[in-house]
Symmetry: C2
């Protein structure tokens, strides 16, 4: 059962969580001085509009018309009640999901790629540099840059670059230059932290170029709140007063923040992060200041971290292999407003295939994590006979990750 919003009911402002967090965020610190960074410190990397959003205390921030124009190629996205999954589980829970897989890049990532490209174009940039792990973010930024005639250079984690040629081709189709990272060590498989270092170094060295990040930062989560804002409206169409629990998978935190933050003020709503056991940032990391990249070039952020030199095992959910986490998400977990669960990847593929068989959509390996958590919530509701209302974000499809399913189906998956 699908609940659709007309285009004229698409949100026209993003929801800013900063003023309503349980405790104020600790400021980012300069990597050299350990002093709080100001707007000028960030100006070599980001346009002023995004720096302002990063620190804003306004409750709502208007979405520019040019951005709405492009987002409406695929937004509002459907809210879908997963009745066939409910039936297969025999649960009294009602399961709803936002389907973000219909975007140009096949995930939620373009929700922030488009405004980031727009603000950079508006402030005179002609080129962006970024990193990508599994390739979702690089694809999204490539699409967005094409819309505003910006050049785009993508530093892709070498292991993914070699294993996922389809993602590279998609970025090239949208005109991007894609190179494997780390650039200075062709024998290294790479990591997200190392690729960030490459991209930041590129942007810092050129006047025509800024840097763009696909998750973690406050302005990225801000742009993703359009997911949760639409979902709220659509739950009303479905005659639900509120969800009992809202879930997202969590790597850097952007899709989870997108669906969860608009429900922050509602105490009836539990918020849950699902992450991989092999990169257990929220469930086993420490809450401390750490660098965003491997080489220590970025500001220090207060977040859950496994240490900026942590190299996670090569699980298929490349989007969840980050040593740190969004400061906003970390704040929510640290204050107890949000729960976190971790799963080994075998159990997430089992859940993903159950979803594909019942709902007809093949999940990205990242989305398999939240689906695992959702199924466990639904089975818990069955246990207690409770009509739990579950909302989650289906952050992307797995059509470019089919080799991962092949490994699972043929018993080659390392169940880390």
């Amino acid at each position: 059962m699908r609940f659709l919003l007309d285009q004229d009911r698409m949100p026209t402002a993003w929801f800013n969580a900063l003023p309503v967090l349980p405790t104020p965020l600790d400021p980012p610190l300069h990597p050299a001085t350990n002093e709080p960074v100001g707007p000028d410190d960030l100006a070599p990397l980001f346009p002023m509009a995004l720096i302002a959003q990063e620190m804003s205390t306004e409750p709502w921030i208007d979405i520019p018309g040019e951005v709405i124009d492009i987002l409406s190629l695929w937004r509002p996205t459907p809210l879908i009640r997963a009745t066939r999954l409910e039936r297969a589980l025999g649960t009294p829970a009602r399961i709803y999901y936002k389907d973000e897989s219909g975007s140009p890049a096949g995930s939620h990532k373009p929700n922030t790629a488009v405004p980031q490209a727009f603000y950079n174009m508006s402030e005179g940039m002609t080129r962006l540099a970024t990193e990508t792990g599994a390739g979702q973010w690089g694809t999204a930024l490539s699409f967005a840059c094409t819309q505003f005639n910006l050049d785009c250079k993508v530093y892709m984690v070498r292991a993914s670059y070699e294993q996922k040629p389809y993602r590279t081709i998609l970025m090239q189709t949208w005109g991007s230059e894609v190179v494997p990272s780390p650039v200075d060590d062709p024998s290294h498989p790479g990591s997200l932290g190392l690729a960030i270092t490459d991209a930041v170094r590129d942007a810092a060295g050129r006047d025509d170029t800024h840097y763009a990040l696909g998750s973690v930062l406050n302005h990225v989560l801000l742009h993703q709140t359009i997911i949760g804002l639409e979902a709220k409206e659509q739950l009303t169409l479905a005659d639900e007063s509120h969800p009992d629990v809202v879930l997202g998978c969590c790597g850097g935190g952007s899709n989870l923040g997108g669906i969860a933050l608009p429900f922050l003020a509602d105490d009836r709503v539990r918020l849950v992060a699902a992450e991989p056991s092999s990169c257990p940032t929220l469930t086993e990391g420490r809450y401390d200041y750490d660098f965003g990249d491997a080489a220590g070039m970025t500001p220090l952020l207060r977040m859950y971290t496994l240490g900026h030199e942590f190299i996670p095992p090569p699980i298929h959910a490349g989007g969840l292999r980050y040593h740190g986490d969004s400061p906003i998400i970390s704040n929510l977990v640290n204050t107890g407003r949000m729960e976190a669960v971790a799963y080994p990847q075998g159990k997430t593929f089992e859940a993903a295939i159950q979803f594909a068989n019942t709902e007809g959509k093949l999940p990205a390996p990242e989305a398999g994590h939240v689906i695992r958590a959702v199924i466990d919530e639904a089975l818990a509701a069955k246990e207690t006979g409770e009509e739990r209302v579950i909302l989650f974000n289906f952050c992307g499809h797995g059509l470019l990750d089919l080799s991962a399913y092949d490994d699972y189906l043929h018993g080659r998956l390392i169940d880390a």
Copy 2:
């Protein structure tokens, strides 16, 4: 700009073109006797419900509730006005497309796979056998069989089986057994006609198994009319009284028939088929009785054909490489009700990339053919300053065909 239909406005009956064709269809002939085939001749391969639909003269045929239940996982599909493409072309034409790429298989194919699986299950079959070229149809039938607990065996054209592992994995994820065809000659690259022979032989030899075909036959086009029926409703939402021209790419004819047949009776509407120059069935074939498969096991159909032994060059649009064509489409072209155009594949990829850059969706190579024709229609309207209303079917995405884009981007495409 997207025009969405609520789920309760999804069509509840298919439109049957047979009673309103310009001239009656010539009957299929038995391959041994050359006499018209009757229902009993087809019973070893198809359930009686589909045989009845194949020959029905009823103007409307009800869609079973169980089928609607599954189709509504992704239907009604959006009608989208391609305003960004229009702007890039500088055309006064208004371009609308039905987006069939959001289905489980990423194409229009599940529209018929689901009812075919349903009717077979209803009549006691426990297993289906089919062929697939590029893999779109095999994927769709695999999904549909999972919904009704049917086993599914897919004979896949060997060249595609070897070049497109992702499609195979997707079919296996939905539980199908996939083997390369022809089964008896491992050195042969295969063809759709040969794969049909393999699948028909399998089904004819087992009591628990029927055969399923993804295009060509009347009942397949019937099931696809849901596309055009929805589009009609949605054009009203867009304040258009009628399209001036309706286009689809054409291999066996199912997606073209699906969008075009509901407009058959409206003389104001031109109908156009777009096919590859390298397999020019409608533009260069002869209109005659021919076999549907390579070995001459199927009934003879009156259709445009290049000869059942024709092996087309290995262009990337695998779904358009069939020696014959739907008898309904052939009838329309032969009587002058429908036009046909043919393109070499280089020009279709150029069009596909322009579409991806403006509208954000990567077309399947098959869809590239109709987009080429649409762009040419829009440029012709620009030439004459005419407000032409163009409707086409975006039959599928190209995410599992990215190697074809790679060939195009790197100058390795054979421009047949």
